[in-house]
């Protein structure tokens, strides 16, 4: 096959070269020696050569596709093909405009999308099935046929089912929105063989637990065009210039349209430079700032009283002694308040147990300030309890905790209360803290008090990961055809913690986390597979994900879970860290060789992946990979004469000779395009659309599913959530039917987290003085593009840790030195860059570096371990119940501390750096 480089050579320039290689520098004649017969400033006689470059801008065909890396971008691209080779890509830049006032979405894309072709042909590309011959991770393989590789896997999966139970086969794939057909390929197989399907959004700590707690939703954000409608945008722990590259312009353009822009971040990052106000906050103290602002807003009566009365739980009554909501006798899910006009205690409408399914007040004026004795009980409103709690968050307190000047934060609080609409753009910067739920709730409180939630240009908008899939109903039906009740779902944080040697030594209210885990599992709040507690998981199948590289507690997982698994399969287009550490690798088609769909919460359009070229090498699209595996399972089951397996948990008689038949819906879903059409046809969002029509350009969703969404799609209006609640008075999806800031679950009361609070970051060993910060950056999407050469040449070529100059000086470290970063969990060795914008006593490395690239030891996840927050194990409380990727413990990692020292490479290191003597140009 021709390489790209060959083609470019043919394209022209090289033809001009006389001798290659070698330097062809001419001696320089003296300037005066030339006297020309024309003036090139005015006209030039020899212009025919210009065709040289004109020819470079010619193509055989241009095909639309996109990327599936969980960037949240969902950008439509055109891939240019010349002589049968993909040569370059350019944004399609044809998203239709929402209305005349809003800037459009074009050109959506980033520098990574502009060079994905490198992976299509690069050395990382997986070209045929591989079976490991060396140790896991060593990189020694033999090529195998599809038949051999699939037979091996099918036999093993079936053995596990019959010998150890179907819940020893574990499946992991992330983010359906980025390529739902590819996701469903494997999830359907898991479904039909009874495998365990693991969560990702909570595990990667991208789920903002404050949203399920307060709003009863997974995550609901406005599409990014709505930023432009705002008059006050707070970038709170979100570096949009780096992590929202296709969307950041809306915020900077909103500023020109009258918005003020505030950036809150410990480091002076690439977004802070464009802000009107930059608040260099002390890491982990954001809730203190938010609660001060809430206090300021309440005490200065800047809150939106009618909004708070109708849309929040703040008027509900709580019994002071027990801390429990006041409920009508015998009711769990009905609540009371006092009408300020009549003084009567009434039942609030629209709660989970209420007969009235509307939160409209119907003339009642719920009293926010009530404190009285009711039937012998001292009762008080949530609002008053909140006021009491907020009293300590004074200006002085907030300034001292956050390290911010009083002048700046007082003005911030005032503007937060007065500029409308106001929105918070929230990201992983805050969400990865142990107390992420408290932080989320404190921030949501701010925008709820001020009546900003449910309005264009307002709200709390969280963007980390492309978690939300618009055509949800079609997707779910394709992914788990018999319904969620017949699928083993597992929170990945819990699974990874329990099945590895990760150990959290903190005590929570005096008890270890194991105590809470056992209680949660026993109460049926969180599932834990395998159900037999002495049984270890045996097989792990990973696709569209890089589990090992991205796992917190990397060292622990490698030394325990990874050794216990006896089959690890990776389906991938490139050799990432998980693939490298697998037993069998199956080559998938790249993003430019498959049929699939793509959507994101950042915009309201759907657009396709397409086969720019047919699958290259011996690769197959994910749909065909899992189709072939299903087929092989059925073949093997028939050949071995396996009797149907009675899956007692679901009372499901599983006949594996029929697995393929079920998987492809009796032939109706044999092809990926049929699967794509299935999703489109079964979702109100995409009603009337066919996959084949999407090639002409992104299409806006036509409606929203009432079950899945909280606003309608309106023509000419940017999408923002919760208009159903605000306009149609639809109850919120919470126990109280309102934005619920008070959680009276006993565990929340035990931890004094019934209301938002600021809690200091989890204390770590005082021996390690630096926070370990691993944010998302511009140069990769998680681990994708981390090893891409075009990208690396515009960085420093290897992983780097950032460090403040004064900290570096104290440690005797200079720019580009090797350093060792360590704590009692693990260590790694990388290069260092001195960064003046970094916070003191914090070290940062952008996340996602592949374990195999550039480190002399360990990797960026080596110092981390898995910590579970007890209150996130809760269930059985109204709207707070385990649901895959909606509610379950998050895999937080920001509270961690490390130390650093200069490192001198050993002889062995130097040998490794010399490519083991195999240096090639």
């Amino acid at each position: 096959m021709k390489s790209r480089r060959d083609l470019l050579k043919l394209a022209g320039l090289a033809a001009l070269a006389q001798t290659i290689p070698g330097c062809k520098k001419k001696e320089m004649p003296a300037l005066e020696s030339f006297t020309g017969e024309f003036d090139p400033l005015r006209s030039y006689p020899y212009r025919s050569w210009e065709d040289l470059y004109r020819k470079q801008w010619t193509w055989d065909k241009v095909v639309r596709s996109t990327h599936s890396a969980n960037c949240t971008g969902s950008c439509s691209w055109k891939v240019y093909v010349r002589d049968g080779v993909m040569v370059r890509e350019e944004q399609a830049a044809d998203y239709p405009r929402i209305n005349e006032d809003l800037p459009d979405y074009n050109p959506r894309g980033c520098q990574k999308g502009a060079c994905f072709v490198e992976y299509v042909y690069g050395p990382q590309r997986l070209k045929s099935p591989l079976i490991r011959t060396g140790a896991r991770g060593e990189g020694k393989w033999r090529k195998a046929s599809w038949d051999e590789a699939l037979t091996l896997i099918a036999n093993k999966l079936l053995d596990n089912i019959y010998e150890y139970g179907p819940d020893t086969n574990t499946f992991f794939s992330v983010i359906p929105a980025m390529s739902p057909v590819s996701f469903c390929a494997g999830s359907r197989l898991a479904h039909y063989i009874g495998g365990v399907f693991c969560s990702f959004y909570d595990w990667y700590c991208d789920l903002p637990p404050g949203e399920p707690l307060t709003w009863g939703v997974q995550t609901e954000s406005c599409e990014c065009a709505d930023w432009f409608n705002s008059k006050y945008i707070v970038l709170w722990g979100s570096n949009i210039s780096q992590t929202r590259i296709p969307d950041a312009h809306f915020a900077y353009e909103a500023r020109y349209n009258g918005a003020k822009l505030v950036a809150i971040s410990p480091d002076f990052n690439s977004s802070c430079m464009h802000a009107d106000l930059y608040l260099p906050i002390q890491p982990g103290t954001d809730a203190a700032l938010a609660l001060f602002a809430a206090n300021y807003i309440i005490e200065n009566k800047l809150y939106d009283e009618p909004y708070v009365q109708e849309q929040t739980d703040l008027p509900l009554l709580v019994e002071r002694r027990t801390g429990r909501f006041l409920r009508p006798p015998g009711a769990d899910d009905r609540f009371l308040w006092r009408d300020a006009k009549t003084g009567r205690v009434l039942e609030a409408p629209g709660t989970m147990g209420s007969k009235v399914q509307s939160i409209g007040l119907g003339g009642v004026q719920p009293d926010l300030h009530a404190r009285f004795t009711h039937e012998g009980k001292e009762v008080v409103t949530v609002f008053e309890l909140l006021r009491e709690r907020l009293a300590k968050y004074t200006l002085e307190y907030a300034a001292s905790v956050t390290g911010l000047p009083a002048n700046d934060i007082r003005q911030f609080a005032h503007e937060m209360g007065t500029r409308k609409p106001a929105m918070i753009i929230h990201g992983a910067g805050l969400n990865h803290w142990f107390h992420n739920d408290l932080i989320n709730r404190a921030l949501i409180l701010l925008v709820a008090l001020t009546g900003n939630v449910g309005k264009n240009g307002g709200g709390f908008n969280h963007y980390v990961g492309q978690e939300r899939i618009w055509p949800e109903h079609g997707f779910k039906t394709l992914a788990f055809p018999e319904g969620p009740k017949k699928q083993r779902f597992q929170n990945m944080t819990l699974w990874s913690y329990v099945h590895s040697s990760n150990q959290d030594r903190h005590l929570y209210n005096g008890k270890p986390i194991e105590h809470y885990i056992e209680a949660s599992v026993k109460n049926g709040w969180m599932p834990l597979y395998p159900k037999k507690r002495d049984q270890k998981p045996r097989a792990l199948i990973v696709w569209r994900a890089n589990y090992l590289n991205q796992a917190k507690g990397n060292e622990h997982i490698l030394e325990s879970l990874w050794k216990d698994l006896d089959l690890i399969v990776d389906v991938n287009y490139r050799m990432d860290t998980t693939a490298l550490h697998s037993d069998v690798v199956l080559p998938a088609s790249s993003y430019y060789e498959k049929t699939d769909l793509n959507s994101t919460d950042c915009h309201s359009y759907i657009h396709p992946f397409s086969k720019v070229l047919d699958p290259l090498y011996d690769s197959k699209p994910d749909w065909d990979v899992f189709g072939a595996l299903a087929k092989k399972i059925s073949e093997v089951a028939a050949k071995r004469g396996l009797k149907p397996y009675l899956d007692a948990q679901f009372n499901w008689e599983r006949d594996f000779t029929k697995t393929h038949d079920l998987w492809c819906a009796h032939g109706k879903l044999a092809r990926d395009e049929e699967a794509a059409n299935f999703i489109l046809e079964h979702s109100p969002e995409t009603k009337g659309m066919q996959y084949s029509q999407l090639a002409s350009g992104p299409k806006r969703f036509v409606a929203t599913d009432w079950e899945a969404w909280n606003s309608d799609i309106e023509q000419g209006v940017a999408y923002t959530p919760f208009k159903h609640q605000l306009v149609k008075k639809r109850p919120w999806r919470t126990l109280t039917g309102r934005q619920q800031f008070y959680i009276d679950h006993p565990w929340y009361l035990d931890f004094d987290e019934q209301l938002p609070a600021y809690k200091v970051p989890l204390e770590e060993d005082a021996k390690y003085p630096f926070f370990w910060n691993t944010p998302h950056g511009r140069w990769s999407i998680h681990s994708t593009w981390r090893d891409a050469r075009y990208q690396l040449r515009l960085q420093r070529g290897v992983p780097i840790v950032y460090m403040h100059p004064d900290d570096a000086k104290e440690k005797g470290i200079e720019d580009n030195d090797w350093v060792k970063v360590f704590n009692n969990q693990g260590a790694f060795v990388s290069k260092v860059q001195i960064l003046p914008g970094e916070k003191r006593k914090r070290l940062t490395m952008y996340h996602g570096w592949e374990r195999y690239l550039g480190f002399l030891q360990g990797s960026w996840q080596s110092p981390t371990y898995i910590k579970i927050k007890p209150t996130q194990l809760v269930g059985g409380y109204g709207h707070v119940n385990f649901k895959l990727n909606y509610w379950g413990p998050t895999g937080n990692n920001r509270d961690l501390r490390v130390d650093v020292m200069k490192y001198t490479p050993t002889e062995a290191d130097l040998r490794a750096m010399r490519w083991n003597g195999e240096r090639k140009a």
């Binding site: 004649p29 090139p40 005015r42 511009r778 914008g837 195999e918």
Partner: protein, 338 residues
């Protein structure tokens, strides 16, 4: 003087530092042999070393009409172009994947570094392409007259057939935007994407810029946005005006937020980003431009409407780019003022 002049305006207050422009140009034009190290479009963090390293201290341009002496940047100044041993690591059992040489400089070596003033960090991004100068020093320096300015649109090109690789142009360009292709023995540079413009499409670096910071059009076309920004609203300035080449790429100058504790004060009172540094880059006029922009921002943020900021929003491609039909290039009536 060419009959018309294409020009680009870059609004630095919208730049993300994302390098999509860099990648767009690389994949479009400089992905061939001998071109690995060259980035006709690059984005550098300022203050900082730049690409090639310290280019702004190397001289070039004109001094009272005479070419000012300068040097040719070394290979190291441009940064290394390394390869990786992925095959060996992934399929051959090697211990780790590494670049084939220790990396000591790259075109973006000091990304996001900037500088400190009184303990506070400041920086911004400066994307750079060839300035397609009205008075190009490269052209004046070429002993073969192989560099010319297209009469119809002012684009400065190096004739790839007639160039002999003498590299006087590289010395003479004060912006160090000409690169030497050792394999071909030719000097090469940004061609302002003329093949695209000729077909009515905009430059790759502008078209692909997700920050939407770039505006392209004829500077002499009174209806073009670039004309309005540079000549009417006067909010965009050329880089190093004193170098005498009369650049046709203009920048809306950047301003970082005020220093911590100063919220509410004008950025001119106690700026985070020292004005001296901006004056160094854009000349004295920059202070006035920032004063003007800050006043406009204030109008917008107090509920008013600023015409120039509305223009800079650049709601769609139609606002940002005015690409001339080829016949228009002759017919456009140049604007009188300026």
């Amino acid at each position: 003087m060419s009959r018309h002049q294409y020009s680009m305006v870059l609004d630095l207050n919208k730049c993300l530092g994302c390098q999509t422009c860099t990648m767009a140009c690389k994949k479009m034009w400089t992905d061939g042999d001998g071109m690995d190290y060259m980035y006709w479009n690059n984005v550098e963090t300022r203050p900082g070393q730049g690409y090639p390293r310290k280019w702004d201290e190397m001289g070039g341009g004109f001094d009272r009409g005479q070419l000012r002496p300068s040097e040719i940047p070394t290979k190291e100044d441009y940064g290394q172009t390394f390869e990786y041993n992925y095959e060996a690591r992934m399929y051959g059992g090697a211990a780790s994947a590494q670049p084939h040489q220790e990396v000591r400089n790259t075109p973006n070596w000091d990304e996001d570094v900037g500088a400190l003033m009184l303990g506070e960090n400041y920086y911004f991004y400066l994307p750079r392409i060839c300035n397609h100068c009205t008075n190009p020093a490269c052209l004046a320096a070429c002993p073969r007259s192989a560099i010319y300015k297209r009469e119809e649109d002012g684009i400065v090109l190096i004739d790839q057939e007639r160039c002999e690789g003498y590299r006087h142009c590289i010395q003479a360009c004060p912006y160090k935007k000409i690169y030497f292709n050792e394999l071909l023995g030719k000097s090469q540079k940004c061609i302002f994407c003329y093949p695209r413009l000729e077909k009515g499409d905009v430059n790759a670096c502008a078209k692909q810029c997700p920050g939407r910071i770039r505006f392209v059009g004829l500077l002499d076309d009174p209806h073009s946005t670039v004309h309005k920004l540079v000549k009417v609203h006067k909010v965009a300035l050329g880089l190093f005006p004193e170098k005498g080449t009369d650049p046709n790429v203009f920048y809306v100058p950047p301003f970082n937020p005020p220093r911590t504790g100063n919220y509410g004060k004008s950025i001119l009172e106690d700026p985070r980003l020292p004005l001296d540094y901006l004056i160094y880059l854009f000349g004295e006029e920059v202070v006035e431009v920032i004063r003007r922009l800050e006043a406009e921002l204030k109008v917008a943020q107090s509920g008013g409407r600023s015409e120039v900021l509305q223009l800079l929003i650049g709601r769609d491609a139609g606002v940002r780019y005015q690409i001339a039909q080829r016949e228009d290039l002759v017919q456009i009536q140049p604007a009188r003022h300026a």
